[in-house]
Protein backbone atom coordinates (compact mmCIF):
# COMPACT_ATOMS: atom_id res chain seq x y z
CA UNK A 1 0.00 0.00 0.00
CA UNK A 2 2.88 2.30 0.76
CA UNK A 3 4.37 1.48 -2.62
CA UNK A 4 1.09 2.29 -4.31
CA UNK A 5 0.86 5.52 -2.35
CA UNK A 6 4.27 6.39 -3.73
CA UNK A 7 2.96 5.91 -7.25
CA UNK A 8 3.65 2.24 -7.90
CA UNK A 9 0.69 1.09 -9.97
CA UNK A 10 1.88 -2.49 -9.89
CA UNK A 11 1.60 -2.47 -6.11
CA UNK A 12 -2.08 -1.69 -6.38
CA UNK A 13 -2.52 -4.51 -8.88
CA UNK A 14 -0.98 -6.92 -6.40
CA UNK A 15 -3.18 -5.68 -3.58
CA UNK A 16 -6.27 -5.83 -5.71
CA UNK A 17 -5.58 -9.34 -6.96
CA UNK A 18 -5.04 -10.57 -3.43
CA UNK A 19 -8.02 -8.95 -1.75
CA UNK A 20 -10.57 -8.37 -4.46
CA UNK A 21 -12.54 -11.61 -4.14
CA UNK A 22 -12.38 -11.97 -0.35
CA UNK A 23 -13.68 -8.45 0.08
CA UNK A 24 -16.32 -9.07 -2.54
CA UNK A 25 -17.45 -12.21 -0.78
CA UNK A 26 -17.42 -10.41 2.55
CA UNK A 27 -19.74 -7.83 1.07
CA UNK A 28 -21.81 -10.36 -0.82
CA UNK A 29 -22.43 -12.51 2.24
CA UNK A 30 -23.09 -9.50 4.39
CA UNK A 31 -25.65 -8.27 1.87
CA UNK A 32 -27.46 -11.59 1.69
CA UNK A 33 -26.14 -12.46 -1.75
CA UNK A 34 -27.04 -9.20 -3.46
CA UNK A 35 -24.33 -9.27 -6.12
CA UNK A 36 -25.18 -5.93 -7.68
CA UNK A 37 -25.07 -4.15 -4.36
CA UNK A 38 -21.92 -6.01 -3.41
CA UNK A 39 -20.22 -4.82 -6.57
CA UNK A 40 -21.29 -1.24 -5.93
CA UNK A 41 -19.92 -1.39 -2.44
CA UNK A 42 -16.80 -3.14 -3.67
CA UNK A 43 -16.11 -0.20 -5.96
CA UNK A 44 -16.72 2.22 -3.12
CA UNK A 45 -14.31 0.32 -0.92
CA UNK A 46 -11.53 0.29 -3.47
CA UNK A 47 -12.12 3.88 -4.47
CA UNK A 48 -11.74 4.77 -0.83
CA UNK A 49 -8.48 2.83 -0.79
CA UNK A 50 -7.31 4.71 -3.85
CA UNK A 51 -8.31 8.07 -2.40
CA UNK A 52 -6.52 7.40 0.86
CA UNK A 53 -3.45 5.81 -0.65
CA UNK A 54 -1.20 8.82 -0.19
CA UNK A 55 -2.28 9.40 3.39
CA UNK A 56 -2.21 5.75 4.41
CA UNK A 57 -0.19 5.06 7.51
CA UNK A 58 0.59 1.48 8.45
CA UNK A 59 -0.73 1.65 11.97
CA UNK A 60 -2.27 -1.77 11.49
CA UNK A 61 -2.24 -4.46 8.87
CA UNK A 62 -3.49 -3.39 5.48
CA UNK A 63 -6.11 -6.12 5.66
CA UNK A 64 -7.50 -4.70 8.88
CA UNK A 65 -7.63 -1.25 7.31
CA UNK A 66 -9.25 -2.60 4.15
CA UNK A 67 -11.97 -4.51 5.96
CA UNK A 68 -12.55 -1.54 8.18
CA UNK A 69 -13.42 0.44 5.07
CA UNK A 70 -15.65 -2.36 3.84
CA UNK A 71 -17.41 -2.56 7.17
CA UNK A 72 -18.00 1.17 7.23
CA UNK A 73 -19.50 1.00 3.74
CA UNK A 74 -21.76 -1.81 4.86
CA UNK A 75 -22.93 0.11 7.90
CA UNK A 76 -23.61 3.15 5.73
CA UNK A 77 -25.56 0.94 3.38
CA UNK A 78 -27.58 -0.65 6.14
CA UNK A 79 -28.29 2.68 7.71
CA UNK A 80 -29.59 3.89 4.40
CA UNK A 81 -31.66 0.73 3.95
CA UNK A 82 -32.82 0.15 7.46
CA UNK A 83 -32.44 3.10 9.65
CA UNK A 84 -33.43 1.05 12.65
CA UNK A 85 -30.78 -1.59 12.17
CA UNK A 86 -27.40 -1.18 13.73
CA UNK A 87 -24.56 -3.52 14.37
CA UNK A 88 -24.06 -1.80 17.65
CA UNK A 89 -27.45 -3.03 18.78
CA UNK A 90 -26.24 -6.56 18.41
CA UNK A 91 -23.10 -6.10 20.38
CA UNK A 92 -24.35 -8.35 23.07
CA UNK A 93 -23.73 -11.87 21.87
CA UNK A 94 -26.31 -13.17 24.30
CA UNK A 95 -28.96 -11.11 22.59
CA UNK A 96 -28.15 -12.70 19.26
CA UNK A 97 -28.21 -16.20 20.59
CA UNK A 98 -30.98 -15.93 23.09
CA UNK A 99 -33.09 -18.98 22.93
CA UNK A 100 -30.76 -20.65 20.46
CA UNK A 101 -30.59 -24.32 21.22
CA UNK A 102 -27.34 -24.59 19.32
CA UNK A 103 -25.42 -22.63 21.90
CA UNK A 104 -25.06 -25.46 24.25
CA UNK A 105 -24.42 -27.93 21.47
CA UNK A 106 -21.73 -25.93 19.74
CA UNK A 107 -19.66 -25.57 22.83
CA UNK A 108 -18.82 -29.21 23.02
CA UNK A 109 -19.27 -30.55 19.54
CA UNK A 110 -16.30 -31.12 17.33
CA UNK A 111 -16.89 -31.80 13.76
CA UNK A 112 -14.65 -34.30 12.03
CA UNK A 113 -12.35 -32.53 9.64
CA UNK A 114 -13.31 -33.49 6.12
CA UNK A 115 -10.40 -34.64 4.03
CA UNK A 116 -11.85 -33.18 0.95
CA UNK A 117 -14.74 -30.90 0.80
CA UNK A 118 -16.14 -31.27 -2.62
CA UNK A 119 -19.34 -29.36 -2.51
CA UNK A 120 -22.02 -29.46 -5.05
CA UNK A 121 -23.47 -26.16 -6.10
CA UNK A 122 -26.58 -26.92 -4.13
CA UNK A 123 -24.56 -27.66 -1.01
CA UNK A 124 -22.54 -24.54 -1.51
CA UNK A 125 -25.65 -22.47 -1.89
CA UNK A 126 -27.05 -24.01 1.25
CA UNK A 127 -23.87 -23.30 3.16
CA UNK A 128 -23.59 -19.67 2.11
CA UNK A 129 -27.27 -19.30 2.82
CA UNK A 130 -26.52 -20.46 6.35
CA UNK A 131 -23.77 -17.88 6.59
CA UNK A 132 -26.02 -15.15 5.33
CA UNK A 133 -28.65 -16.20 7.79
CA UNK A 134 -26.37 -15.62 10.77
CA UNK A 135 -27.09 -12.62 12.94
CA UNK A 136 -25.27 -9.58 11.62
CA UNK A 137 -22.76 -9.36 14.45
CA UNK A 138 -21.90 -13.06 14.32
CA UNK A 139 -21.69 -13.08 10.54
CA UNK A 140 -19.48 -10.06 10.63
CA UNK A 141 -17.00 -11.66 12.97
CA UNK A 142 -17.12 -14.90 11.02
CA UNK A 143 -16.54 -13.23 7.67
CA UNK A 144 -13.77 -11.02 9.00
CA UNK A 145 -12.16 -14.15 10.32
CA UNK A 146 -12.63 -16.32 7.26
CA UNK A 147 -12.29 -13.80 4.44
CA UNK A 148 -10.08 -11.17 5.98
CA UNK A 149 -8.10 -13.69 8.00
CA UNK A 150 -8.17 -11.30 10.89
CA UNK A 151 -7.39 -12.51 14.37
CA UNK A 152 -9.93 -12.19 17.13
CA UNK A 153 -7.91 -9.37 18.58
CA UNK A 154 -7.99 -7.50 15.28
CA UNK A 155 -11.69 -8.21 14.90
CA UNK A 156 -12.33 -6.92 18.38
CA UNK A 157 -10.46 -3.72 17.65
CA UNK A 158 -12.11 -3.26 14.30
CA UNK A 159 -15.62 -3.80 15.50
CA UNK A 160 -15.11 -1.95 18.72
CA UNK A 161 -15.99 -4.76 21.04
CA UNK A 162 -14.10 -6.70 23.62
CA UNK A 163 -12.04 -9.68 22.82
CA UNK A 164 -14.40 -12.05 24.61
CA UNK A 165 -17.40 -10.67 22.81
CA UNK A 166 -15.75 -11.20 19.47
CA UNK A 167 -14.72 -14.66 20.52
CA UNK A 168 -18.27 -15.56 21.59
CA UNK A 169 -19.72 -14.25 18.36
CA UNK A 170 -17.38 -16.32 16.35
CA UNK A 171 -18.11 -19.39 18.41
CA UNK A 172 -21.85 -19.00 17.93
CA UNK A 173 -21.42 -18.48 14.22
CA UNK A 174 -19.28 -21.55 13.85
CA UNK A 175 -21.74 -23.64 15.82
CA UNK A 176 -24.58 -22.68 13.54
CA UNK A 177 -22.57 -23.43 10.46
CA UNK A 178 -21.53 -26.75 11.89
CA UNK A 179 -25.14 -27.69 12.13
CA UNK A 180 -25.59 -26.69 8.53
CA UNK A 181 -22.65 -28.83 7.52
CA UNK A 182 -23.97 -31.85 9.36
CA UNK A 183 -27.10 -31.68 7.36
CA UNK A 184 -25.40 -32.96 4.20
CA UNK A 185 -23.00 -35.36 5.72
Amino acid sequence: MLAYGAGDAAAFARLFDRHERPVYRFLLRSLGGDAARAQDLLQEVWLAVIRNATSYEPRARFTTWLYGIARTRLIDHWRAQRSDVSLDAANDPQADDAGEPLVERVAGVRTQEPEVLAMSRAQALAFVAAVEALPDAQREVLLLHLEGELTLDEIAQLTGVGMETAKSRLRYALAKLRVALEQWR
Binding site: E20, R25, R110, M119, L125, F127, H145, K167, L174, L181
Partner: protein
Protein backbone atom coordinates in the same frame (compact mmCIF):
# COMPACT_ATOMS: atom_id res chain seq x y z
CA UNK B 1 -11.45 -21.20 19.08
CA UNK B 2 -9.23 -18.20 19.01
CA UNK B 3 -7.12 -19.41 16.15
CA UNK B 4 -7.26 -21.37 12.99
CA UNK B 5 -5.67 -24.29 14.74
CA UNK B 6 -9.05 -24.96 16.22
CA UNK B 7 -10.38 -27.97 14.30
CA UNK B 8 -13.90 -26.62 14.30
CA UNK B 9 -12.78 -23.37 12.85
CA UNK B 10 -10.63 -25.11 10.26
CA UNK B 11 -13.49 -27.34 9.23
CA UNK B 12 -15.85 -24.44 8.78
CA UNK B 13 -13.18 -22.49 6.93
CA UNK B 14 -12.64 -25.34 4.53
CA UNK B 15 -16.35 -25.71 3.99
CA UNK B 16 -16.60 -22.00 3.42
CA UNK B 17 -13.81 -22.05 0.81
CA UNK B 18 -15.30 -25.10 -0.85
CA UNK B 19 -18.62 -23.35 -1.13
CA UNK B 20 -17.03 -20.36 -2.78
CA UNK B 21 -15.03 -22.56 -5.07
CA UNK B 22 -18.22 -24.30 -6.12
CA UNK B 23 -20.04 -21.04 -6.66
CA UNK B 24 -17.08 -19.21 -8.14
CA UNK B 25 -18.31 -15.87 -6.99
CA UNK B 26 -16.46 -12.93 -8.33
CA UNK B 27 -17.22 -9.36 -9.20
CA UNK B 28 -18.02 -8.55 -12.79
CA UNK B 29 -15.27 -7.59 -15.16
CA UNK B 30 -16.84 -4.18 -15.58
CA UNK B 31 -16.62 -3.54 -11.86
CA UNK B 32 -13.06 -4.77 -11.80
CA UNK B 33 -12.11 -2.67 -14.80
CA UNK B 34 -13.66 0.42 -13.25
CA UNK B 35 -11.60 -0.02 -10.09
CA UNK B 36 -8.38 -0.68 -11.97
CA UNK B 37 -9.00 2.32 -14.20
CA UNK B 38 -9.64 4.51 -11.17
CA UNK B 39 -6.40 3.29 -9.62
CA UNK B 40 -4.52 3.98 -12.84
CA UNK B 41 -5.95 7.49 -13.04
CA UNK B 42 -4.96 8.11 -9.47
CA UNK B 43 -1.45 6.89 -10.15
CA UNK B 44 -1.21 9.13 -13.17
CA UNK B 45 -2.17 12.13 -11.13
CA UNK B 46 -0.38 11.22 -7.92
CA UNK B 47 3.07 10.65 -9.37
CA UNK B 48 3.02 14.11 -10.86
CA UNK B 49 2.45 15.59 -7.48
CA UNK B 50 4.70 13.15 -5.69
CA UNK B 51 7.31 13.11 -8.40
CA UNK B 52 7.43 16.83 -8.83
CA UNK B 53 7.90 17.44 -5.14
CA UNK B 54 11.53 16.30 -5.14
CA UNK B 55 12.12 18.31 -8.27
CA UNK B 56 10.63 21.37 -6.65
CA UNK B 57 12.74 20.67 -3.62
CA UNK B 58 15.87 20.74 -5.77
CA UNK B 59 14.81 23.55 -8.05
CA UNK B 60 15.75 26.44 -5.79
CA UNK B 61 19.14 25.11 -4.60
CA UNK B 62 19.95 24.12 -8.16
CA UNK B 63 19.15 27.58 -9.43
CA UNK B 64 21.19 29.15 -6.63
CA UNK B 65 24.14 26.88 -7.35
CA UNK B 66 23.96 27.68 -11.04
CA UNK B 67 23.86 31.39 -10.31
CA UNK B 68 26.85 31.16 -8.02
CA UNK B 69 28.76 29.12 -10.57
CA UNK B 70 28.05 31.52 -13.39
CA UNK B 71 28.93 34.50 -11.19
CA UNK B 72 32.20 32.89 -10.14
CA UNK B 73 33.13 32.15 -13.72
CA UNK B 74 32.28 35.72 -14.70
CA UNK B 75 34.45 37.10 -11.90
CA UNK B 76 37.35 34.83 -12.80
CA UNK B 77 37.11 35.75 -16.46
CA UNK B 78 36.95 39.43 -15.55
CA UNK B 79 40.00 39.12 -13.33
CA UNK B 80 41.95 37.33 -15.99
CA UNK B 81 40.92 39.89 -18.53
CA UNK B 82 42.11 42.65 -16.24
CA UNK B 83 45.39 40.88 -15.76
CA UNK B 84 45.85 40.59 -19.47
CA UNK B 85 44.59 44.05 -20.30
CA UNK B 86 47.51 46.05 -18.92
CA UNK B 87 49.76 44.66 -21.63
CA UNK B 88 47.57 46.05 -24.34
CA UNK B 89 46.62 49.09 -22.39
CA UNK B 90 50.22 49.92 -21.65
CA UNK B 91 51.22 49.85 -25.25
CA UNK B 92 48.36 52.11 -26.05
CA UNK B 93 48.49 54.38 -23.05
CA UNK B 94 52.22 54.77 -22.84
CA UNK B 95 52.38 57.06 -25.83
CA UNK B 96 49.45 59.00 -24.48
CA UNK B 97 51.23 59.51 -21.20
CA UNK B 98 54.24 60.84 -23.00
CA UNK B 99 52.25 62.97 -25.36
CA UNK B 100 53.65 66.43 -25.45
CA UNK B 101 52.93 68.27 -28.63
CA UNK B 102 49.92 68.02 -30.79
CA UNK B 103 51.98 66.51 -33.56
CA UNK B 104 53.31 63.87 -31.28
CA UNK B 105 49.94 62.97 -29.85
CA UNK B 106 48.52 62.78 -33.32
CA UNK B 107 51.33 60.56 -34.36
CA UNK B 108 51.08 58.42 -31.27
CA UNK B 109 47.50 57.53 -31.85
CA UNK B 110 48.50 55.93 -35.06
CA UNK B 111 51.17 53.65 -33.65
CA UNK B 112 48.87 52.62 -30.90
CA UNK B 113 46.86 50.80 -33.46
CA UNK B 114 49.79 49.86 -35.56
CA UNK B 115 52.04 48.47 -32.96
CA UNK B 116 49.88 45.64 -31.80
CA UNK B 117 50.48 43.27 -34.65
CA UNK B 118 54.11 44.25 -35.01
CA UNK B 119 54.95 43.87 -31.35
CA UNK B 120 53.06 40.70 -30.90
CA UNK B 121 56.14 38.46 -31.08
CA UNK B 122 57.79 40.30 -28.23
CA UNK B 123 54.64 40.74 -26.27
CA UNK B 124 55.45 38.31 -23.47
CA UNK B 125 58.49 40.30 -22.41
CA UNK B 126 56.84 43.66 -22.69
CA UNK B 127 54.04 43.62 -20.12
CA UNK B 128 56.24 43.22 -17.07
CA UNK B 129 58.37 46.30 -17.56
CA UNK B 130 55.39 48.24 -18.79
CA UNK B 131 53.48 47.55 -15.61
CA UNK B 132 56.56 48.18 -13.53
CA UNK B 133 57.20 51.48 -15.26
CA UNK B 134 53.67 52.74 -15.01
CA UNK B 135 54.27 54.74 -11.80
CA UNK B 136 57.46 56.19 -13.20
CA UNK B 137 55.56 57.38 -16.22
CA UNK B 138 53.49 59.42 -13.86
CA UNK B 139 56.56 60.91 -12.23
CA UNK B 140 58.04 61.50 -15.68
CA UNK B 141 61.55 61.32 -14.29
CA UNK B 142 62.41 57.78 -15.05
CA UNK B 143 62.79 56.76 -18.65
CA UNK B 144 59.68 55.37 -20.22
CA UNK B 145 59.60 51.77 -21.35
CA UNK B 146 61.15 51.30 -24.71
CA UNK B 147 58.73 48.74 -25.96
CA UNK B 148 56.22 50.65 -27.99
CA UNK B 149 56.99 54.35 -27.88
CA UNK B 150 59.91 54.07 -30.27
CA UNK B 151 57.51 52.97 -32.92
CA UNK B 152 55.60 56.18 -32.65
CA UNK B 153 58.65 58.34 -32.37
CA UNK B 154 59.65 58.36 -36.03
CA UNK B 155 56.28 59.73 -36.97
CA UNK B 156 57.32 63.17 -35.90
CA UNK B 157 57.02 65.24 -38.98
CA UNK B 158 60.20 67.31 -39.06
CA UNK B 159 62.27 67.90 -42.10
CA UNK B 160 65.89 68.73 -42.65
CA UNK B 161 69.10 66.98 -41.88
CA UNK B 162 69.37 68.21 -38.35
CA UNK B 163 65.90 67.43 -37.46
CA UNK B 164 66.19 64.17 -39.26
CA UNK B 165 69.26 63.22 -37.33
CA UNK B 166 67.67 64.38 -34.17
CA UNK B 167 64.55 62.45 -34.97
CA UNK B 168 66.63 59.47 -35.70
CA UNK B 169 68.14 59.82 -32.32
CA UNK B 170 64.80 60.49 -30.79
CA UNK B 171 63.46 57.52 -32.59
CA UNK B 172 66.20 55.50 -31.09
CA UNK B 173 65.32 57.01 -27.78
CA UNK B 174 62.03 56.54 -26.24
CA UNK B 175 59.50 59.18 -27.06
CA UNK B 176 59.07 60.13 -23.44
CA UNK B 177 59.31 63.74 -22.49
CA UNK B 178 61.75 62.78 -19.82
CA UNK B 179 64.23 61.69 -22.42
CA UNK B 180 64.15 64.93 -24.29
CA UNK B 181 65.48 67.17 -21.54
CA UNK B 182 68.13 64.62 -20.86
CA UNK B 183 69.18 64.62 -24.50
CA UNK B 184 69.12 68.42 -24.60
CA UNK B 185 71.23 68.58 -21.51
CA UNK B 186 73.65 66.18 -23.04
CA UNK B 187 73.75 68.22 -26.20
CA UNK B 188 74.47 71.35 -24.23
CA UNK B 189 77.20 69.60 -22.33
CA UNK B 190 78.91 68.65 -25.54
CA UNK B 191 81.44 71.15 -26.85
CA UNK B 192 80.52 70.86 -30.47
CA UNK B 193 77.12 71.96 -31.63
CA UNK B 194 75.08 69.05 -32.50
CA UNK B 195 73.92 70.34 -35.83
CA UNK B 196 75.07 67.52 -37.96
CA UNK B 197 74.62 63.84 -38.33
CA UNK B 198 77.43 62.34 -36.36
CA UNK B 199 76.65 64.32 -33.27
CA UNK B 200 73.02 63.66 -33.52
CA UNK B 201 73.59 60.04 -34.18
CA UNK B 202 75.91 59.55 -31.32
CA UNK B 203 73.64 61.41 -29.02
CA UNK B 204 70.66 59.13 -28.95
CA UNK B 205 72.68 56.10 -28.46
CA UNK B 206 73.25 56.35 -24.74
CA UNK B 207 69.70 57.40 -24.27
CA UNK B 208 68.54 54.55 -26.38
CA UNK B 209 70.72 52.10 -24.62
CA UNK B 210 69.66 53.54 -21.31
CA UNK B 211 66.01 53.42 -22.07
CA UNK B 212 66.13 50.08 -23.72
CA UNK B 213 68.34 48.70 -21.05
CA UNK B 214 65.50 46.75 -19.62
CA UNK B 215 64.79 45.29 -22.96
CA UNK B 216 68.38 44.52 -23.57
CA UNK B 217 68.66 42.92 -20.23
CA UNK B 218 66.00 40.50 -21.23
CA UNK B 219 68.01 39.58 -24.27
CA UNK B 220 65.92 41.43 -26.75
CA UNK B 221 68.05 43.00 -29.46
CA UNK B 222 65.05 43.81 -31.59
CA UNK B 223 64.30 47.12 -29.95
CA UNK B 224 63.32 49.26 -32.94
CA UNK B 225 64.74 52.50 -31.58
CA UNK B 226 68.10 50.99 -30.95
CA UNK B 227 67.92 49.16 -34.20
CA UNK B 228 67.28 52.41 -36.05
CA UNK B 229 70.16 54.08 -34.28
CA UNK B 230 72.44 51.29 -35.32
CA UNK B 231 71.28 51.57 -38.91
CA UNK B 232 71.94 55.30 -38.88
CA UNK B 233 75.35 54.65 -37.44
CA UNK B 234 76.08 52.17 -40.18
CA UNK B 235 75.02 54.64 -42.83
CA UNK B 236 77.07 57.40 -41.37
CA UNK B 237 79.98 55.05 -41.23
CA UNK B 238 79.51 54.41 -44.91
CA UNK B 239 78.44 50.83 -44.45
CA UNK B 240 75.43 51.19 -46.63
CA UNK B 241 75.11 47.53 -47.50
CA UNK B 242 74.97 46.53 -43.90
CA UNK B 243 72.60 49.39 -43.17
CA UNK B 244 70.33 48.29 -46.00
CA UNK B 245 70.42 44.73 -44.73
CA UNK B 246 69.59 45.84 -41.22
CA UNK B 247 66.88 48.10 -42.54
CA UNK B 248 65.41 45.24 -44.46
CA UNK B 249 65.37 43.12 -41.32
CA UNK B 250 63.89 45.94 -39.34
CA UNK B 251 61.10 46.39 -41.84
CA UNK B 252 60.42 42.70 -41.84
CA UNK B 253 60.22 42.74 -38.13
CA UNK B 254 58.32 46.00 -37.78
CA UNK B 255 56.52 46.42 -41.07
CA UNK B 256 54.47 49.34 -39.86
CA UNK B 257 57.34 51.22 -38.33
CA UNK B 258 57.94 54.66 -39.80
CA UNK B 259 61.56 54.82 -40.82
CA UNK B 260 63.29 58.18 -40.43
CA UNK B 261 65.15 59.67 -43.34
CA UNK B 262 68.50 59.25 -41.62
CA UNK B 263 67.99 55.54 -41.52
CA UNK B 264 66.85 55.32 -45.10
CA UNK B 265 69.96 56.81 -46.61
CA UNK B 266 73.16 58.45 -45.55
CA UNK B 267 72.90 62.15 -44.91
CA UNK B 268 75.77 62.81 -47.15
CA UNK B 269 74.20 61.02 -50.09
CA UNK B 270 71.01 63.04 -49.94
Amino acid sequence: MTGRSDPDTRAIARAYRAAHAALDERPSEASRAAIVAAAARAVESQPHAAGSAPRRRWRLPLAAAATILVSSIAVIVAQRTEQQMPAGVTTESAPASTAGTGAESAAKEKPATEIQPADRPSAPAVPAPARRDRPSAVSRNAPAPAASPPVSAPAIGETGADSTARDAGAAAVDRGESSRPAAAARRQAQPAPAHDGPASVVEPRPAASAESAGVTATGKAEDPARWLARIIELRQAGREDEADAELKKLRERYPQLTIPEAALRHAGTR
